[in-house]
Symmetry: C2
């Protein structure tokens, strides 16, 4: 139940990758205004991959939109017909050469719900199988098994700054694979 | 240093609130392709407000873009001429009626760097002063001082799902206000 009324939504731009909309919104106080929003037709999915020595697999990645380098979890888009966990496993294999198996769902999140409906899913795998060098040379310049203490250090140094990776790693470091509180 | 070349960026839509662009990108492998991106002219800022009993101030908020309710940190846009910490304090005061003081920077993040350059800053305050009922009735339907154990419970229940809030809370619960590892 909500007191928000959406009178309509106009497409300012539409494509298979992204849609920019302008919504006509009436808030609980009765104010009516226009609001820009970004709709993403597909979700994202990524994996916290942990080895027997408790190290986590990270990739060093350039993001041209922000113009920044950062350490990230392997992740990408869920293709049509794919489930989020199979997308997460495919992306990890392409980007790192390691194929995660026995994926468990850790957490799902909205990346920026005041701007976009984009949804991302984080999985955990404790069993990855090495397949060979990464198939996708554009995604990662470095693939590194990282000790938890070094993950914490990278977080404090600001070298992990994308919210998906930060949520996934902080969740895993805080809760492990427990689904209880 | 990067092997990514951006040959240009065309504006598909532009406004003071959001810009949709199409970039002409050449990746390290030499592939050239078009890439949609969203540029946000202003940053976001929010605050983890903690009281003497270690409770954290959360607001229950409806997000019409995702059509979901969730518990969130008070947060909003940094206005022109404003610093991120003063924006975070102003937003908290408007949304909760509590004015945080002595803000410390906790962490900054990119909400979704494969889509947008949107940047958000999380602050911590252990000293908030009650100013009266929230001035902005549209932001929060409920304002609640929440015990850390209940924050963890809300995370596991999926009632905290925006990545900004998740990062801020997990960071604070993991590291407190330590700037060291």
């Amino acid at each position: 139940v909500t007191d928000w009324t959406i009178h309509g939504e106009q497409a300012l731009y539409d494509s298979p990758w992204v849609r920019l909309g302008l919504a006509d919104v009436e808030t609980p106080s009765g104010t009516r205004h226009s609001y820009h929003l970004v709709r993403m037709p597909v979700a994202g999915a990524g994996t916290v991959i942990v080895d027997e020595a408790s190290q986590i697999l990270l990739i060093h990645r350039y993001r041209f939109i922000t113009g920044t380098w950062g350490w990230e979890l392997p992740a990408g888009r869920v293709d049509p017909g794919e489930t989020p966990d199979s997308a997460a496993a495919r992306e990890a294999t392409e980007e790192t050469g390691w194929k995660p198996t026995a994926l468990q769902h850790l957490v799902s999140l909205h990346t920026s719900p005041g701007l976009t409906d984009q949804t991302s899913h984080v999985f955990l795998s404790r069993n990855a199988i090495y397949q060979g060098p990464p198939a996708d040379p554009d995604e990662a310049s470095d693939v590194h098994w990282t000790k938890p203490a070094d993950v914490r250090r990278l977080l404090h140094l600001g070298e992990i700054h994308d919210s998906f990776t930060m949520c996934g790693l902080l969740w895993y470091l805080s809760f492990g694979d427990s689904t209880d509180c």
